[in-house]
Subunit: 297 residues, 2 copies
């Protein structure tokens, strides 16, 4: 059933019992979403390569894909706020979290040299994170929707004087050459991905730590957020993240997304959830899921 159950095959952090699993991702193969999928599941997965995150969430909500893999935070750029909105809007559960070390490379046709490059194409975030190198290079930079998509386009169109900033995997997949490796300014560059599903679960090792993501709005009274956070602190539960998002139609009122280092499907925690619920106008548990660790290509 699963694509990686044999002892001879490499072990991957998660397994699916779905027969022909489909994972929806933003970007084409070679994108950081695709790399994360490969490192999590191994081979045997079909990827739906989408232009937008809306399409990715919709694939999973509608059943075209069993899983969606979505970047939620970068350690330099911060949260992808739009994906918190999509998380709230769609009826999906978070079933796993993974962290990928982001490495940016300058990629061009085999045989091309740095002198021959007239333009560099990439996603705005990859451009921003390679700015010191690009400033030194001093050539025109063009923003594109997708890192690996830029590599694929430059390859397909035979654009010998163009380069892209993208992953090593995209160079490999499209038969292109790494002209300059690791051009990222700050090496402490990680992206946190969420694996989501509507109905499917995954099998993982049993000793993993868990996180729980809550989506809530606090009571309309002074100090209500402080009281909620104090309740969490009193239980000695670590809060790893808090993010606010505007409530639609209610300017300057906010929902919160809160990540806690706790496994909430443990019945010991029912009373805790009840206490949280008493301190909120609205509470949704978006998932209680294993942390699948740091991944590296």
């Amino acid at each position: 059933m699963s694509s990686n159950t044999s002892d001879d095959e490499p072990k991957y952090p998660c397994r699916t019992s779905v027969d022909s699993p489909i994972v929806s991702i933003q970007g084409v193969k070679g994108s950081f979403h695709h790399i994360t999928g490969e490192l999590l599941f191994g081979p045997g997965i079909t990827y739906l390569e989408r232009d937008t995150f809306d399409q990715v969430f919709d694939d999973c909500a509608s059943g075209r894909a069993q899983y969606a893999l979505v970047a939620i935070e970068n350690s330099i750029a911060g949260s992808l706020l739009q994906n918190y909105d999509l998380l709230a809007k769609n009826d999906l559960h978070i079933i796993g979290e993974a962290l990928l070390r982001i490495e940016h490379h300058l990629i061009a046709h085999p045989g091309a040299s740095l002198d021959s490059i007239k333009q560099v194409w990439s996603h705005p975030m990859a451009i921003n994170q390679s700015q010191a190198f690009l400033d030194q290079l001093g050539i025109e930079v063009i923003e594109k929707r997708d890192t690996a998509g830029a590599v694929k386009y430059i390859k397909d169109e035979g654009l010998k004087d163009m380069a892209a900033i993208a992953s090593d995997r995209s160079a490999e997949l499209y038969g292109m050459n790494i002209l300059r490796p690791n051009i990222e300014t700050d090496p402490h560059n990680y992206t946190r991905f969420l694996l989501m599903s509507r109905h499917q679960s995954i099998e993982t090792a049993e000793d993993l730590s868990y996180k729980t993501t809550l989506h809530l709005s606090v009571l309309e009274e002074p100090g209500s957020l402080a009281k909620l956070l104090q309740l969490i602190a009193d239980k000695e539960i670590n809060m790893t993240m808090i993010e606010s998002r505007p409530q639609l139609g209610k300017p300057w009122q906010y929902d919160f997304f809160i990540d806690l280092q706790v496994r909430i499907d443990d019945p010991d925690n029912d009373a805790f959830i009840d206490e949280i619920r008493e301190r909120t106008l609205f509470l949704e548990i978006l998932g209680s899921y294993p942390c699948l660790g740091y991944l590296k290509t």
Copy 2:
């Protein structure tokens, strides 16, 4: 000295004692930044029209402009996270806050009809906030850096079959026509702007409410954010906003930006600031400033 001191002229929420005041804004005249400047200061201001927020902050930090006017939050899209980073990086003070009602109009050449339009150009946020109208219209949409800049370009280049989504002021300034007014999906659409300066202050009415923006990192101990927020709540000070931003080079550690409804330059509050400081690793007061109210064209 000031451009609006005479009793015969309309009253504006703030006055400057600078002789020939220069305000740096992102976008061209007719942009929401420019409209906010006009509604705050009235006539007699020179605007530096910039492509990027980096340039706007740099204008003000280097002294090319006495003031910078920068969007920090939209009531639908949420915080402009990049501007929190620029706020932290540059040695500027927040000296005022204003809220602008955002209205999007479809703008084209005089005489153009909806049937003749082949493409709509605008900033991604304006496109997103007019999506229901655009879906109905069903023609190609192109993302541009600036709303009013799209109007100006379509005018200058004589592009009779193009339309832009932008403000009524931009139609007026560039001699263009509003083809469809108020195409925004959600009318509860406001943008919060910060007025910043390095050395200059402004004169305002004396009965305004104040806000204070803090930039801080909490102590590295469990529940430290909860304790900090509780300290604020115990003083019955209302927190209107909390935003987290990643610390550079320290993945998954965050700085916080916190807005409090309090005037901090009052000596009564010195003890409060000392208590906050004891609960933080790092504390910077980015400004204690008057709320200049809701503006409307």
